[in-house]
Symmetry: C2
DNA sequence: AAAATATTAGTACATTTGTTCTAAATATTG
DNA sequence: CAATATTTAGAACAAATGTACTAATATTTT
């Protein structure tokens, strides 16, 4: 494996484990037995590492939105399936979501990219909702502004379930994604016909 | 005003404005024209300042939960009222909520206190839900696990609406609380009879 | 194989930060 | 008013951090 990849892999692992603010380039370098100088040859600035990891994350989300685009959504299970995939991406890159605001402020390009990604995902979800209403899965008596609010709720829960877990339940490892998956799924229950 | 109070006031203001991680004790001291040495006479450690601010925050929340306890909740407007109050407390101490996980990990006493507070608020909300079902405001055909999931959703949205705003909409000042208040209120809509 | 290029370790430096220490000034108490 | 305690400013320090620089080594190209 290339040094560059090794750095990214080690950084992700350490950031996830100890938090993005406690890990320095020296820690990352030491963990793969290279010098700090070498690390900075590959990534001039620490933020370049974080940016690279965000690009990975965004790539995986993009892929998932594309799948959603091309899939034929006929019932709730499709949404649940996408949610599961989202949750596992969030878990994989959890250090971002546990410090999202700070990272977004520190690296504006990340905030901007995230906004675009969110806009795209929102549009996708709106389409799915309309389809599920037409198919008689979702209630047809819900006003537009409630659907719109639901979308925001979905994104808040989708982005911050991990933070809630960290602060309260502290389910370990993949169990967290599983438990919060159920909570996420329950969001749709009262909208079912 | 006592120096100690001045420090807390300045810290809250600067933390809210620039984020808890970019502000140092020197910044806080400078902003009220005292020396860093003096500041550290009043607060030996930086974290003592944050802890003090958390105690203030928890006090205001406690007060609000107590009100909820004693109030006679007969319709949704009561919940909305409590939510508004919560939202304004969150806004007042926004730096916490924008970095909650990190602060909680850095100062375990805060995490612990927050968990207890959350437990108390959850119990309170559960009581209110039951009342509203009995009063025919909420639907009576919702299974227990869905109510329980709703509670968690409520706390996630209640704690992280600000983070979502920071990352996406960026409503300024009190407008943010107002807009997200609407989104919060909408959470209850599909549960209404 | 020689030359050019890329990669690496190690050192060094400037800055920042939390905190401690000292001595002066101020306020409080007897 | 004298003694005592509190508060304050300012200097000083050690540790940490990001990153630049240098020289050696390894790899690739010609």
């Amino acid at each position: 494996m290339q040094t560059k990849e090794k750095i990214l892999e080690a950084a992700l692992s350490l950031y996830n484990e100890k938090g993005v603010n406690t890990i320095t380039t020296r820690h990352i370098a030491a963990s793969i037995n290279i010098s700090a100088g070498n690390l900075h040859y590959h990534f001039k600035h620490t933020d370049d590492i974080i940016q690279s990891l965000y690009n990975q994350l965004a790539g995986e989300f993009d892929e998932q939105v594309s799948e959603m685009e091309s899939a034929r959504v006929t019932d709730l299970s499709a949404i649940v399936g996408f949610a599961e995939k989202s949750f596992s991406i969030v878990y994989k890159y959890r250090f971002f979501f546990l410090n999202f605001v700070e990272i977004g402020n520190r690296i504006p390009a990340i905030k901007k990219a995230y906004q675009q990604l969110t806009a795209r995902r929102k549009k996708e979800f709106t389409g799915v909702f309309q389809l599920l209403i037409r198919n008689g899965i979702f209630r047809s008596d819900i006003p537009e502004n409630i659907w719109s609010a639901l979308l925001t709720q979905i994104f808040i829960v989708g982005d911050f379930w991990l933070s809630n877990n960290e602060l309260t339940n502290q389910f370990q490892g993949k169990k967290a994604a599983k438990e919060y998956g159920k909570i996420f799924e329950a969001m749709f229950y009262p909208y079912l016909k």
